[in-house]
């Protein structure tokens, strides 16, 4: 029982320490026919949390494209992943790539405008 309490406490500390502060949630859904939505809007320096739901039969990945600083994250089939991202200081269009590993991709445009 004490072991359980200790490990729960440890898990909470780890989640608190590394979970980071999430931003405005944006839902992205991956299905067998691609990812939606394909356009998003946000302000400069805005904290976002992409909540990516994978409803497709296979794995999907989300990654920054054309210089967008977002590391590749794998979303296993049937699972959801929360990915934090902060928009850059400059206005412009950021690109995200939502794709089947080794296969076709959907480009999601994130339009960043001044706040």
């Amino acid at each position: 029982m004490r072991m359980l309490a200790v490990s729960l406490a440890l898990a909470c500390v780890l989640v608190a320490a590394c979970g980071g502060g999430g931003g405005r949630e944006i839902e992205i859904v991956a299905t067998d026919s691609g990812c939606t939505p394909t356009t998003l809007t946000a302000s400069t320096r805005e904290k976002l949390t992409f909540v990516v739901k994978n409803e497709a039969r296979g794995d999907r990945e989300l990654e920054g494209e054309d210089g967008t600083k977002l590391e590749e994250v794998l979303i296993p089939s049937g699972r959801t992943r929360r990915i934090n991202y902060t928009t850059p200081n400059e206005e412009g269009t950021q690109k995200l790539k939502c794709y089947i590993p080794g296969g076709p991709e959907t480009i999601i445009e994130l339009r960043v405008t001044g706040s």
Binding site: L14, C18, G19, E71, L74, R82, N84, P101, G102
Partner: protein, 288 residues
């Protein structure tokens, strides 16, 4: 950072051990004048390794998407093979390394060819150096969350400690726990290699080269997410995956299980081997 530190400590010490044994033997036999050939060979090999590292990095960055993942995945699996071979080879080699090196130095000296001494040092450093290059490259692929500066800092730190240990061997220090060093670092290297194996096959699956590694029996994303700093660190170092496939799980545990049994099963034999290695090495060094 921890990955690059451990790799450079272990590999760097193997290089340092060879150089220290050769230099100490030259000193004892009054051939200090030939130190420069040894250093020339060592430095030339180090430059070749830096070049090879740059080549690997350029190849990887010139590729994109799935072919980059495939290249990284294959490199990681190559690194697993090298690590495994290194751990077991070093265990066997430790017994005769001193005697073999002295014989080769004698041959080089009697042939009177300076080039022989240069190439002796060159080959010793090249072998370990190319291993290091491959491992660092595989580690850098897995440790993408880490900054380049931290990664290099870890490598420099490991090399510095290895150099100090090599100097201690050169001075004929007997307090250095060589046996424990190779036993403990061998276990650590096997654990790192198991993680690389799991990461490597996952990369190959992502690249599409392997189509199916089975289902994913659990998901610990809610406890330690791979998008967090801790998750990335555990992923790079130990091959942590919040939702691993059956293929990864089976490969990881069978590699680690078999590797540790084979390695530790020989631990008692290792003890006596190192006993002999030191006995054979120390009468010569006792003069200094």
């Amino acid at each position: 950072m921890l990955f690059s530190f451990l790799i450079l400590l272990r590999e760097g010490f193997e290089v340092a051990l060879v150089l220290a044994l050769v230099l100490a033997y030259l000193r004892q036999t009054g051939n200090r004048a030939h130190f420069k050939e040894v250093w020339a060979g060592a430095i030339a090999a180090a430059l070749v390794c830096v070049g090879a590292g740059a080549g690997l990095e350029l190849t990887a960055t010139s590729l994109s998407g799935s072919s980059q993942e495939a290249f990284e995945g294959i490199t990681m699996l190559g690194a697993v093979a090298v690590l495994t071979w290194m751990v077991f080879w070093m265990r066997r080699q430790a017994r005769t390394i001193g005697r073999d090196l002295r014989r080769n130095v004698d041959l080089a000296l009697t042939s009177g060819s300076l080039l022989a001494l240069v190439s002796l040092a060159f080959m010793a450093v090249l072998r370990e150096g190319l291993e290091t290059t491959l491992l660092l490259f595989a580690g850098a692929s897995a440790e993408r969350g880490d900054s380049t500066a931290l990664f290099l800092l870890g490598a420099a730190g490991g090399l510095a400690v290895a150099a100090v240990m090599g100097y201690a061997v050169y001075r004929g220090s007997r307090v250095l726990p060589l046996r424990q060093f190779f036993a403990v670092s061998g276990v650590i290297v096997l654990v790192l290699a198991a993680g690389l194996l799991s990461n490597g096959v996952a990369e190959l699956q992502e690249s599409g080269l392997i189509s199916n590694l089975g289902g994913r029996p659990w998901d610990t994303d809610a406890i330690v997410s791979q998008t967090t700093t801790l998750g990335k660190f555990l992923h790079a170092l130990l091959g942590y995956d919040s939702a691993p496939t059956w293929g990864q799980i089976v490969l990881y545990w069978s590699y680690l299980g078999l590797g540790l049994v084979a390695f530790l099963g020989g631990a008692s034999a290792l003890l006596s081997r190192f006993g002999r290695f030191r006995a054979e090495r120390e009468p010569g060094l006792a003069k200094s």
